[in-house]
């Protein structure tokens, strides 16, 4: 594998939301939405982020774009450290990194026309003439497959898929290198989902984009992502190239997630043994001691309840944070039957 350029480097990213209680509103704790996350994204690839709702993946995405003021950590995008930059200093960086949002209805200002929405980044970052801007807007509309004649309409006149195209056009307006897709298809009908995903893939090919693709839909991630990170309760528990992850998951949580994905082949589907997780996701304001997953892990060990497992590279490019693989880390050999179970399947 040739040494690819790292476009995004995230180190120990933390995003806490403070909780104030009591008569004096003292700071008594934090919602640890993102609690020490590390990953890189290589130029031109798609990193999928999966996890249950509430695990912090959207927050993570927004934190990477510095839509929040992060609690700790560093974020380097295209060689520039942005973790501690002020919002006004960030402004110049904005064209590099863009975002496509989850809810195509909510992400468009209902009181602006399509042209105005797509043109807003241009208004902010260029001093082009109106005509030039309009030309660019038409170009973008063509690129995402919207009829030019819709330019003066308001968002409420469009279907969900069309709205998402508007959102994508807006994200593309400034020729970004890096786009975070925050569950861009979650709110769409299944028939539309494929269209949008295909559009994203086409654009990636033609424009050389880098994606961070956040989703809870493992099959869709499998389709689009090059590498996949699994998040649980504010932490990345496993990160691996797509095929490695889907073939040999090295974290009980990943296994549980994968076992829940329906297989189109009924014969396979019939044989699948679902791993049913017990209990609820603990509150991110009060994560359990030791491993975050220890309260629900089917393979929990005593050590899990005491010590937070280290996030380590088990195989080249395959990272995991689980005590199960602590000793076998070098060989990648399974230590317990859990992996055999996977092979059986």
């Amino acid at each position: 594998m040739s040494e690819r350029r790292k476009l995004v480097e995230v180190r120990d990213l933390k995003m806490y939301f403070p909780i104030n209680t009591g008569i004096l509103r003292r700071h008594t704790g934090d919602v640890k939405a993102v609690d020490g996350v590390n990953f890189d994204i290589y130029e031109g690839e798609t990193l999928g982020i999966v996890g249950e709702s509430g695990c912090g993946k959207s927050t993570c995405g927004r934190a990477v774009l510095r839509l929040y003021d992060i609690t700790a950590g560093t974020i380097k995008i295209d060689g520039v450290e942005i973790g501690a930059k002020s919002q006004s200093a960030l402004r110049k960086m904005r064209p590099t990194m863009q975002m496509v949002f989850q809810d195509p209805q909510a992400c468009l200002n209902p009181r602006m026309t399509v042209a105005a929405i797509i043109g807003e980044p241009l208004d902010e970052h260029t001093d082009w003439s109106k005509a030039k801007k309009l030309e660019r807007i038409y170009e973008l509309m063509d690129a995402v497959g919207l009829n030019r004649s819709f330019a003066n309409r308001y968002p409420h006149a469009f279907s969900g898929g069309q709205r998402q195209r508007i959102g994508i056009a807006r994200a593309l307006a400034l020729n970004p290198k890096f786009i975070i897709c925050d569950e861009p298809i979650a709110a769409l009908d299944v028939s539309i989902q494929a269209q949008v995903v295909n559009l994203l893939e086409e654009l990636q090919d033609s424009l050389g984009l880098t994606y961070m693709f956040i989703s809870h839909d493992l099959s869709m991630v499998r389709h689009i992502a090059d590498r996949v990170a699994v998040m649980y309760l504010g932490k990345i528990v496993e990160l691996a190239p797509r095929d490695a992850l889907y073939a040999t998951p090295r974290h009980p949580y990943t296994e549980a997630l994968l076992s829940a994905v329906p297989d189109p082949d009924p014969s396979v589907e019939a044989r699948v043994q679902r791993i049913i997780l017990k209990g609820d996701v603990p509150s991110p304001s009060n994560p359990p001691k030791g491993c975050n997953f220890s309260t629900r892990c089917p393979k929990v060990m005593d050590i899990s309840r005491q010590i937070d497992p280290e996030y380590r590279e088990l195989a080249p490019g395959h990272f995991s944070a689980c005590h199960l693989y602590n000793d076998a880390g070098e060989t990648g050999a399974p230590r317990y039957e859990c992996n055999q179970q996977g092979e059986d399947a």
């Binding site: 927004r62 774009l65 839509l67 006004s88 960030l90 402004r91 110049k92 960086m93 904005r94 064209p95 990194m97 863009q98 975002m99 949002f101 989850q102 809810d103 909510a106 992400c107 468009l108 200002n109 209902p110 009181r111 602006m112 026309t113 807003e120 980044p121 902010e124 970052h125 003439s129 109106k130 005509a131 030039k132 309009l134 030019r148 004649s149 330019a151 003066n152 309409r153 308001y154 409420h156 006149a157 959102g167 807006r170 400034l174």
Partner: protein, 307 residues
């Protein structure tokens, strides 16, 4: 570069979409009370704005020999104790009363919206500004107004002249004691709007806070603001009248509806018209504005509009 004035779009298929205010208007039209209110309010505005152009009588013109006249061709509503034409006084008085209502409402709205947006959008300002709002809510309003008026009337009158000084003072006093509801409503809406994805989208684009507010937040809190605007006009008109009625509003040689009513109170038995006309005008204005507000509330509520 192409000329920006040139039609940019040769495509004939372009039809500007229907502005959504038309939808609001369509819904508004179905509210009969609101339509009637609008008609009455427009007539009152015409009465006080255009009226004096048609009925060119100086409201301050004394006609001592013709005082306390009943309705006649020269004085359609009669004259007061100094022989001033009641119709002309009502027109001019209405100008002031309505102007106070509009200006005070506008001021109150600006203050309330500004504070609401700042508090809702900037987390750091939220707590202090909301405490400030609570503080103002806790101020006893009428007494405060009375004190404000007694305190500053003369110094302002000196700086700006009698009429403008008092006008400014009263508008300001009413505004400063009535912005809090607007601020609270706007803050609540902004807090919700701020989390909307299109605001996040704008942030991710790099739109600065000021423009996020003017472009994305403000237009979307317009409907609650509109409703509190109509209520604001009504209460400002009543407050001004009440102040004049307590003898603390505009100076006596300044006809406002509240003043005319106050002065007419002594004469209510001999000349009930002197009390009834200003009273009816105040009530009608407030009533019509309230109905407009009612209709607007319904029309701006998408849940109702959908029905």
């Amino acid at each position: 570069m192409t000329d920006t004035a040139k039609p940019l779009n040769p495509d004939e298929a372009f039809r500007p979409p229907r502005n959504q205010w038309w939808d609001v208007w369509d819904q508004f039209k179905t509210h009969r009370g609101a339509l009637a209110g609008l008609a009455v309010f427009v007539s009152i505005i015409l009465f006080v704005v255009v009226g004096p152009l048609i009925w060119q009588v100086d409201p301050g013109q004394l006609n001592i020999r013709l005082r306390n006249q009943g309705p006649s061709r020269d004085f359609p509503l009669g004259t007061d104790q100094l022989g001033r034409d009641l119709l002309a006084r009502l027109m001019y008085g209405g100008r002031i009363s309505v102007a106070v209502g509009l200006v005070a409402m506008f001021l109150g709205l600006v203050i309330g919206t500004l504070i609401g947006v700042l508090a809702g959008y900037f987390k750091r300002l939220d707590s202090p500004l909301m405490r400030l709002t609570d503080l103002f809510l806790a101020l006893p309003l009428l007494p405060l107004l009375l004190i404000l008026v007694t305190l500053f009337r003369d110094s302002l009158a000196r700086t700006f002249g009698e009429s403008i000084g008092v006008f400014l003072l009263i508008c300001f006093a009413i505004a400063i004691t009535s912005w809090m509801q607007t601020a609270r409503i706007v803050r609540g809406d902004v807090l919700a709007l701020k989390e909307r994805e299109y605001v996040l989208a704008a942030r991710s684009i790099g739109t600065p806070s000021l423009r996020i507010n003017t472009r994305h937040v403000l237009p979307n809190v317009l409907s609650p603001i509109m409703v509190s605007a109509t209520l604001g006009i009504a209460s400002a008109i009543i407050t001004e009248s009440a102040l004049s009625f307590l003898g603390l509003g505009f100076p006596p040689d300044f006809p406002t509806w509240g003043r005319i009513l106050y002065e007419g109170r002594d004469w209510i038995e001999q000349y009930p018209a002197r009390v009834v006309w200003p009273g009816v005008l105040i009530s009608l204005t407030v009533l019509s504005v309230n109905y407009i507000g009612d209709g607007l509330r319904d029309a701006l509520d998408p849940r109702i509009r959908g029905r």
